[in-house]
Subunit: 435 residues, 2 copies
């Protein structure tokens, strides 16, 4: 059986209970990021350009209004990745929810699905995308492909195909067509093209499924067959882990959520510092030890913009030591990046590569003025109990959206209330954050 | 200067006279194929599925109706490649017009462009796509990518960007975004995914240009830069021929049009046979010598469907010897593929690989009942005088669309009459072919 055969069968799988609980939290977090992202001025022109041509339709849009399902998937996928604060799966090497959730949501009204059906479709799609990401492997990512977009498109196809109740044969054609639709390269990082990649993945899933339902035929095994997507796109075709598809624990249960509004490479360090309870006055010297991969990703030494600060160990360490909330996107302003007290403090921080640490681990050593040596560490792979994770995500929603909007959103997700959920999405952040 | 710099500059180039004449013929031929393709039942469900969600808009659709520009580009690109009878550029390794013309046409009304402005934009886009195809090279095609779709998307971006009067900076972002949008693999060949690839390319060009105009940023050099489209997609990055960009003769002047409704690999043979004037009764034995590449493409020995017959040297040689019109798509029926006289005749045909022949050349040797040895040959690279080419394309339009529709279409193209041209496109083939 090829991965395609397995995916076709998995489309109708029964959601596993723990995985479903985690998907509900991820859906809540996706909405938090999306509502906040809808307020980003950088994407207002894009959104307007898309809607000017594609007009109105059945599916709800982040920030208000509606659009045809493929267009809604494109816009919602893009806006929900605008802040880059959405969930990550480190083994998939991608952001699963931004590619898949918008595809499922776009078909909610056309298929008259319930909240729980949308949630289950999103879960199947997310889990499938993680498997496809693992199957494409590190070779695909290293060659320059953006797994969020590529593996994400196949996951989105599964989510859309499930909601549309495609037959196995139709779903096979949809996955075949997706092999031409799926695309997205890492050269976009640092531009609006990165969030767009997520939006394209979501739209590709919706379109592949709708067009296959309309009778369009595609490659028999466009993903794993000869000259298929994997073979042409530097995929490692690692079938080994596929045996786990559909077996507990599902991959989504090891998904990571962002609890700081900056690059994920900084999060283990921030958690380590938070746990150390050292005051600014007591800091003599700080050493941050991290996996070598991150040294070229998020080690800007003297950032002078809010955006650059999101990729700086030294600056964010200074923020955390000073008690500045790294969860609030507004903390990453140009002004804070140049604040004299933070600039002085970050001079005391050294960042060192340590190959013994995984990409999810960090160790921090602080020499204090009083002559002590304090050591802290954190591993993002450590399990966070569900209740604690929920509370952290609720705090994040409050920081991103304000108290009232965060409560309304949680209420909708917790009670499986689709109209209330869509209403929350369509509220713009600017309005929502009013006290 | 990278290819991207050159393309940005080329977007505003003055069309060269001979190239423009050829583009006018290619536009006529594109419309012929598109109007005929719009009648293909295989794509009716796809068309309906797209329009059901994306609704109406400003741009004219093949077969009637209108849609938003990106959607119109998608549908018109797909339908015009449905019959696989559109133009080919052998060095580009692709079909230039189906990817570019629909993009230019989709923006005609929104930009209030004249026929001649659309024609010039199509020409710039087609010429650019051939250059990008050459730059990506044979390595890209051999790896499994469909140049029509990939190089085509960049050409479509240039055509759309020219009509939208994008600034050089906007056009650079559009090409950067296109590096994530451009996609399409050869695994789709033989399915509806192949024409879809052309449609995706046309849509990608329209979207990349519109979104960049809306302010969306993309990779600074998404095509040729580090981790760009070329580097990630097995491109050969052959800068050598780029010096010719914009210098006469333009590449489009060596474009090939199909004068037989079957695989392009058979055309040199059919032309050779046509020139030999041997009667069926006089045929003892036929030897067809062709480039080895075609042996795996179009050498079906005993086809029993009309589709299979389009990929058979033996069968089409028998058709040509019997005087059956290989220009008329209706000649490729299941019934004709099983006709006893043709089946008997094709038993007398042998097909042999000959490495001394180019992909555009064929040699035919016929031993006659009367004991003669007749030799014919043809090279598709031989120049066809413009007047002769126009006449052949007009014959093709008559065969595909019927006399009246063919005349009306030619009149519109020849007099640069955009409303009449759009009206011709929107007529369905079924209606048009009535006497």
């Amino acid at each position: 059986m090829s991965i395609t055969d397995k995916l076709v069968a998995f489309a109708r799988a029964e959601p596993e209970a723990e995985a479903l609980t985690m998907m509900r939290l991820s859906l809540f977090d996706w909405a938090t990021c999306g509502i906040a992202g809808a307020g980003e001025a950088e994407f207002a022109g894009f959104r307007a350009a898309v809607l000017r041509s594609e007009g109105q339709g059945q599916a709800a849009l982040l920030g208000g209004g509606s659009a045809p399902p493929p267009t809604a998937a494109l816009i919602n996928g893009t806006l929900s990745h605008a802040l880059d604060c959405d969930d990550t799966h480190f083994a998939h090497i991608g952001h699963p929810s931004v590619a898949v959730v918008p595809a499922a949501l776009a078909l909610a009204r056309p298929t008259q699905a319930s909240f729980d059906e949308v949630l289950a479709a999103a879960l199947i799609g997310v889990e499938a995308s993680i498997h496809v990401g693992l199957w494409l492997g590190r070779s695909h990512y290293q060659a320059g492909f953006h797994q969020t977009a590529t593996a994400g498109a196949f996951g989105a196809t599964l989510a859309a195909g499930r909601l549309l109740s495609l037959s196995p044969d139709q779903l096979r054609h949809a996955l075949g067509l997706c092999a031409s639709l799926a695309s997205g390269i890492k050269a976009q990082f640092g531009t609006g093209g990165k969030p767009m990649n997520a939006g394209l993945a979501a739209r590709s899933g919706v379109e592949a499924a709708l067009w296959a339902q309309g009778g369009l035929t595609g490659a028999a095994d466009g993903l794993a067959g000869p000259l298929g997507f994997g073979a042409t796109h530097h995929g490692s075709a690692d079938d080994e882990h596929l045996r786990r598809l559909g077996q507990a624990p599902w991959h989504i249960t090891s998904i990571s959520h962002k609890f700081h509004a900056c690059c994920h490479g900084l999060h283990a360090m921030l958690e380590a510092v938070k746990g150390m309870n050292v005051t600014v006055e007591d800091v003599e010297h700080v050493q941050v030890f991290t996996n070598p991969r991150w040294m070229s990703v998020c080690n800007q030494t003297d950032p002078d913009t809010g955006l650059a600060a999101k990729f700086s160990y030294r600056h964010t360490a200074a923020m955390a030591l000073s008690g500045i909330d790294t969860l609030d996107p507004d903390s990453f302003s140009d002004a804070w990046s140049r604040h004299p007290q933070l600039v002085a403090l970050r001079q005391k921080v050294d960042v060192l590569a340590d190959e013994t640490l995984s990409e999810m681990q960090c160790r921090v050593e602080i020499a204090t003025v009083s002559g002590q040596k304090r050591i802290g560490s954190h591993d993002l792979a450590d399990t966070i109990p569900i209740a604690a994770r929920r509370e952290k995500l609720q705090n994040k929603a409050r920081a991103f959206l304000g108290q009232a909007a965060a409560e309304a959103l949680w209420q909708a997700v917790d009670t499986s209330d689709l109209p209330a959920f869509e209403a929350a999405l369509m509220r713009s952040k600017t309005v929502a954050k009013q006290p």
